[in-house]
C-alpha cells in the first residue's frame, strides 16, 4: 500500500491531525517525565538502610526536672538515669537487645560533621562529611549491622559525655562507603582519622557494610552512606533508645515500654510519638516520595486514558465520515484487511509525528525541571520506552474503529448518501 492516498486524505483534516498529534506529543512529554519521577522516588524509597528493620523500634523520651547536663555532676546523674532505663528495657521479656543512640536512619535528626586524614582540617567544600551515631557496645547487634572488617565495640570502649560536650573520640566504626572514600587503597581498620577538624586522632576499629545517615531529605543526599559510630552515651535531659524485639514480638515489646519506663522514673515525658516502630519511621520519612509517586501515577493514568479515548473518538468520527469512500474502495476490490491497514497506518503516521514532537517536548520539560528543581537528566531509555508505548496505545486505540471501518460492506457504494 502506498502512503500517498493516506497523506492526501490527512491533508483534508489538517486541524484534526494536528490536534491529535499535539495531544500525543503532550502526553508523551508529561508521561515520560512523570514516570521518570516515579522511578526515581521508588528507587529512593527502596534503598536499604543497612539495618535489619524487622522487630526494630525507637523510644524517644525526655526527663522532667533533670539536671541540665552542662556540669560534670549533672552529666553523671543523667548517665545513671540513662543506664537505669537501658537496664529496665533490656530486662523486658520480649526485648532482644537495646542500644542508646542519638538518632537512627531516616529519623531526620542528625549530628553531622566531617572526617579527614589530617588533624586541624578546616571545614571546607570537598571535605568528607559524615553523620555520627553515638551509641554503645550493643549497637551492631541491635541495629543488625554487618561487620565486614575489624571488631565491634566492647563495654570497655564505651564512654559517656554531656550531649553538648566536645570530647575526643579515640575509636570509631565507619561504614564501607566512608572507608572507601577515606582509604581508597583499602585497609581502613587500624588507620587514624580526625573528626570535625580536631587535633585528637580517632582509630578506625571496624567497618560495617552499610548504614544510612538519619537524613532522608535532599540535605543528606551527598553523604547518605557516610555514617560513623562512636562508642559514647550522650547525656542530656532527653534520650533515645533503639530496641530490637525478639522475632515477632515487636508490638508486645512496644506496648510494655511506657509502663516500664514510668516505673523506673515517673518524671518524664512519653507521648504518642515516643515509642515508634521503625516501619513507621520509614513510612513518615518517605511519605512525600510515595505521595509524589502516587500523584504522578494517577496523572499518567488519566492522561493515557484520555489520549487513547481521544484517538478512538476522532478515528470513529473519521470512519463515519468516510463511510461511503470505504464502500467505494471495497467495491473496487480492496479487501477488509486493506481498510484495516489503512487506518492503522494512518494512525501510525499521526502518532509518529506526535511522538517526534513529544520526544523534543519531553527532553525540553526535563531540562526545564532540571534547571528549576532538583531533578536528574532523564535517561533516553525512558523516552524511547515512552515512544513505543505511545505508538502501541495509538494502535490499540485505533483498532476498534478501524475494524468497524473494515466491516463496511461494498454495497454502501451503490446507495445514495
Amino acid at each position: 500500500m502506498t502512503l500517498h492516498p493516506i497523506l492526501a486524505a490527512l491533508r483534508k483534516h489538517k486541524a484534526g491531525v494536528v490536534l491529535i498529534s499535539l495531544q500525543i506529543a503532550l502526553t508523551l512529554a508529561i508521561v515520560c517525565n512523570a514516570v521518570f519521577i516515579i522511578g526515581q522516588r521508588v528507587e529512593r524509597v527502596n534503598r536499604p538502610t543497612g539495618l535489619d528493620e524487622n522487630d526494630l523500634f525507637l523510644v524517644s523520651q525526655q526527663w522532667v526536672g533533670a539536671p541540665g547536663g552542662d556540669d560534670p555532676a549533672g552529666v553523671e546523674k543523667l548517665d545513671v538515669m540513662q543506664r537505669e532505663d537501658l537496664t529496665a528495657l533490656r530486662n523486658l521479656p520480649d526485648v532482644a537487645s537495646v542500644a542508646p543512640s542519638n538518632s537512627i536512619p531516616l529519623l531526620n535528626s542528625s549530628w553531622t560533621g566531617a572526617l579527614s586524614l589530617k588533624s586541624d582540617q578546616k571545614f571546607e567544600k570537598g571535605i568528607t562529611r559524615t553523620a555520627y551515631y553515638f551509641t554503645d557496645e550493643h549497637a551492631l547487634a541491635t541495629l543488625g549491622l554487618r561487620l565486614v572488617a575489624g571488631r565491634a565495640f566492647t563495654a570497655a570502649d564505651v564512654q559517656h559525655q554531656g550531649a553538648r560536650d566536645q570530647r575526643n573520640r579515640p575509636i570509631v566504626i565507619v561504614t564501607q562507603a566512608l572507608a572507601d572514600k577515606l582509604f581508597p587503597q583499602g585497609g581502613a581498620v587500624g588507620k587514624v582519622v580526625y573528626t570535625d577538624g580536631s587535633s585528637a586522632p580517632s582509630t578506625v576499629i571496624g567497618v560495617v557494610a552499610r548504614l544510612q545517615t538519619p537524613a532522608s531529605g535532599s540535605f543528606g543526599n551527598d553523604f547518605a552512606w557516610n555514617s560513623t559510630l562512636v562508642p559514647t552515651r550522650l547525656d542530656a535531659n532527653f534520650a533515645r533508645y533503639v530496641v530490637r524485639a525478639k522475632p515477632g514480638r515487636r508490638d508486645a515489646a512496644m506496648h510494655a515500654v511506657p509502663a516500664t519506663l514510668y516505673a523506673v522514673n515517673p518524671m518524664r515525658v512519653l507521648d504518642d510519638d515516643s515509642v515508634k516502630s521503625f516501619a513507621d519511621i520509614r513510612a513518615s520519612a518517605y511519605r512525600a516520595d510515595v505521595g509524589m509517586a502516587i500523584l504522578m501515577g494517577v496523572v499518567c493514568l488519566i492522561l493515557l486514558c484520555v489520549t487513547a479515548a481521544g484517538i478512538v473518538g476522532l478515528t470513529s468520527f473519521w470512519v463515519g465520515q468516510r463511510h461511503r469512500q470505504i464502500g467505494v474502495r471495497r467495491a473496487l476490490g480492496a479487501r477488509k484487511v486493506d481498510i484495516l491497514h489503512y487506518f492503522q497506518i494512518e494512525n501510525l503516521l499521526i502518532a509518529g509525528a506526535g511522538v517526534l514532537v513529544g520526544v523534543l517536548l519531553a527532553i525540553g520539560l526535563n531540562m526545564w525541571l532540571m534547571s528549576h528543581y532538583e531533578m536528574a537528566r532523564i535517561p533516553l531509555l525512558y523516552v524511547l520506552t515512552g515512544v513505543l508505548v505511545m505508538l502501541a496505545i495509538g494502535q490499540a486505540a485505533v483498532f476498534v474503529p478501524a475494524r468497524r471501518a473494515s466491516n463496511v460492506p461494498p454495497v454502501v457504494a451503490t446507495r445514495a448518501a
Binding site: 495531544q23 502526553t27 512529554a29 522532667v64 526536672g65 566536645q166 510515595v290 489520549t307 528543581y373
Partner: protein, 438 residues
C-alpha cells in the same frame, strides 16, 4: 434565543452520548487534577501575614566568612548568640525580636497526670505586637519583664484548654521545666502557615501548635536549651549550652519590623556598619556580606514551598492542557459532522454570529458538565491528599467557596476556549456546498 441554542446543544450532545461523555470526563479529570494540586499549592504558597509581610524583615549577618558561604555566596540563614544580642541591644528597628525554638516539659498540677512535652519559642516582648499575635486573655509581657528575666509565659489556647479547662488563666502558674511561670497571656487560635517567624526550624509547615512563649533572656538564664537546628563552622571552644552562646554557631532566628523604605535603608546601613566594625576590630576577616530580606522574599529564599508541590501543579496543568487539546479535537469532529445542519441554518438566514453563539453554548454546556464532575473529583482529590502527601501539608489543603467557583470557571472558560477554533470552523461552513452535496 439562548433557550433555543441550549435545546439544540442538548439535542446534539444526546445524539452522540459516547463522545459527549468522553469530553466531559476529560474536562472533569483535567480540571480536578489541576484544582487538587492548586489547592495544595495555594495552601503552601499563601502569605501568612498579608497585611504586614512587606514590613517584616529578616536580617542575615555573615559571621562565618567566605568558607562558610554556600555556592551562592549566601551568609548563614540564622544568627549566632553574639550577633542576635547585639542587634537586640542596639534596637534599631521599630519592633524586633530574636527567637529560638524550645521544647520544654510541662508538669500538670494534677499529680496523677504524666508530664507533657510542648514546643514553643523563647522570644522578646516585641514579638507579639510585631506579628500581631491575637490574644484570647491577657497580653504579651513587657519590656521590663524582658530586662528582669521575669518568669512569665504566654500559652496557646490549646494548652490553656488542657491545663485550665479553657478558663481565663492569666495570673495562674504553669510548671515549665520544673520551674513556676506566671501566665500573662493566652493566645487566640494562632497557627500561621507557613510558620513564618522561624522557617529555618519549622521547615515552613507544621501540624503542631506553638504552645509556649517565654522571655528570651529568661530562657537563656535558666539554660533552657535550643531544640532546633544548630549549625557550626567550627567546633565550639567551650562545651554545653553556654559554650554554644559563646561560639560562632548559628541557631537563633531574628525578625524586625521596618515601616518604610527609609527605615529599611537605615537598617541596612546599620547592619553593614556593624559588619565593618567587626572587620576593623579583626573579628571578621572579610568585607560585609549581609542580607535584609522582606518576609515574602525570605520565604522564597528558604524554599518554603516544596518543589514537589510546584512540580505537581505544573504536571497537572499539563494534564489539563492535554485534555483541552483532546476536547478541541473532539468538538471539531462533532461540529463539522453537522456541516449540513449549519448549511441549512445559514441558508435560512442565520448570521455567522448566531452559529458562534450556538456552538459556544454547546461548548459551554460541555464545560459546565465537566466542571460539575470536576467539582466532585476535586472534592475526592482534596480529601485523598491526606493519605498521599505529608500530613503537615495535606492538612492545609481544603475545599472552600473560592475553590468551587474557580473550578467551575476554569472548566467553563477553558472548554469555551477549546471550542473557539471548532466554532470558527463551523461558522466558515459554506451553505451552498452543503445544500448542493445532498
Amino acid at each position: 434565543m439562548l433557550a433555543y441554542y441550549l435545546e439544540l446543544a442538548l439535542r446534539s450532545l444526546k445524539r452522540s452520548p459516547g463522545l459527549t461523555a468522553l469530553m466531559v470526563l476529560a474536562i472533569g479529570f483535567g480540571v480536578a487534577a489541576s484544582m487538587t494540586t492548586w489547592s495544595v499549592f495555594r495552601a503552601v504558597s499563601g502569605d501568612p501575614i498579608p497585611w504586614k509581610s512587606a514590613q517584616l524583615f529578616v536580617p542575615q549577618i555573615d559571621n562565618w566568612g567566605p568558607n562558610g558561604r554556600g555556592s551562592d555566596g549566601e551568609p548563614p540563614n540564622a544568627m549566632s548568640y553574639n550577633e542576635a544580642i547585639t542587634l537586640m541591644r542596639d534596637h534599631r528597628a521599630r519592633l524586633q525580636s530574636a527567637m529560638y525554638q524550645i521544647s520544654p516539659s510541662i508538669v500538670p498540677a494534677d499529680a496523677s497526670k504524666h508530664p507533657i512535652n510542648v514546643s514553643g519559642h523563647a522570644v522578646y516582648s516585641e514579638f507579639f505586637p510585631m506579628l500581631d499575635v491575637p490574644f484570647l486573655f491577657g497580653s504579651g509581657w513587657s519590656a521590663a519583664d524582658d530586662a528582669q528575666r521575669a518568669a512569665v509565659v504566654v500559652i496557646s489556647s490549646k494548652l490553656n484548654q488542657k491545663l485550665f479547662g479553657g478558663s481565663n488563666s492569666v495570673g495562674r502558674t504553669v510548671n515549665v521545666e520544673g520551674k513556676d511561670y506566671r501566665v500573662v497571656g493566652v493566645l487566640n487560635d494562632w497557627n500561621p502557615q507557613p510558620r513564618f517567624f522561624d522557617v529555618v526550624n519549622s521547615g515552613g509547615f507544621s501540624t503542631g501548635v506553638e504552645d509556649v512563649f517565654v522571655p528570651f533572656q529568661r530562657a537563656i538564664a535558666v539554660g533552657m536549651p535550643n531544640d532546633g537546628n544548630t549549625n557550626c563552622n567550627a567546633v565550639p571552644a567551650e562545651s554545653g549550652f553556654v559554650g554554644l552562646q559563646h561560639s560562632a554557631c548559628v541557631w537563633i532566628a531574628y525578625m524586625a519590623e521596618l515601616d518604610d523604605a527609609a527605615a529599611v535603608t537605615a537598617y541596612k546601613q546599620y547592619l553593614d556598619g556593624y559588619a565593618r566594625d567587626m572587620q576593623q576590630s579583626g573579628r571578621f576577616g572579610w568585607a560585609p556580606n549581609n542580607r535584609l530580606r522582606d518576609l515574602p522574599s525570605w520565604l522564597d529564599n528558604q524554599h518554603v514551598v516544596p518543589s514537589d508541590t510546584k512540580v505537581s501543579l505544573l504536571v497537572a496543568l499539563g494534564l489539563l492542557l492535554a485534555c483541552l487539546v483532546n476536547t478541541t479535537g473532539l468538538l471539531l469532529a462533532k461540529f463539522l459532522r453537522r456541516s449540513g445542519e449549519i448549511g441549512v441554518r445559514r441558508a435560512l438566514g442565520a448570521p455567522r454570529l448566531a452559529i458562534y453563539a450556538q456552538f459556544l453554548v454547546e461548548a459551554g454546556i460541555v464545560g459546565l458538565s465537566g466542571g460539575l464532575l470536576g467539582l466532585l473529583l476535586t472534592g475526592v482529590g482534596v480529601a485523598s491528599v491526606g493519605w498521599v502527601l505529608p500530613k503537615d501539608i495535606a492538612a492545609l489543603a481544603r475545599v472552600d467557596f473560592s475553590l468551587l467557583v474557580l473550578t467551575l470557571l476554569v472548566a467553563v472558560i477553558a472548554t469555551m476556549l477549546a471550542g473557539l477554533y471548532p466554532t470558527f470552523r463551523a461558522s466558515r461552513v459554506q451553505p451552498a456546498w452543503q445544500l448542493k452535496s445532498n
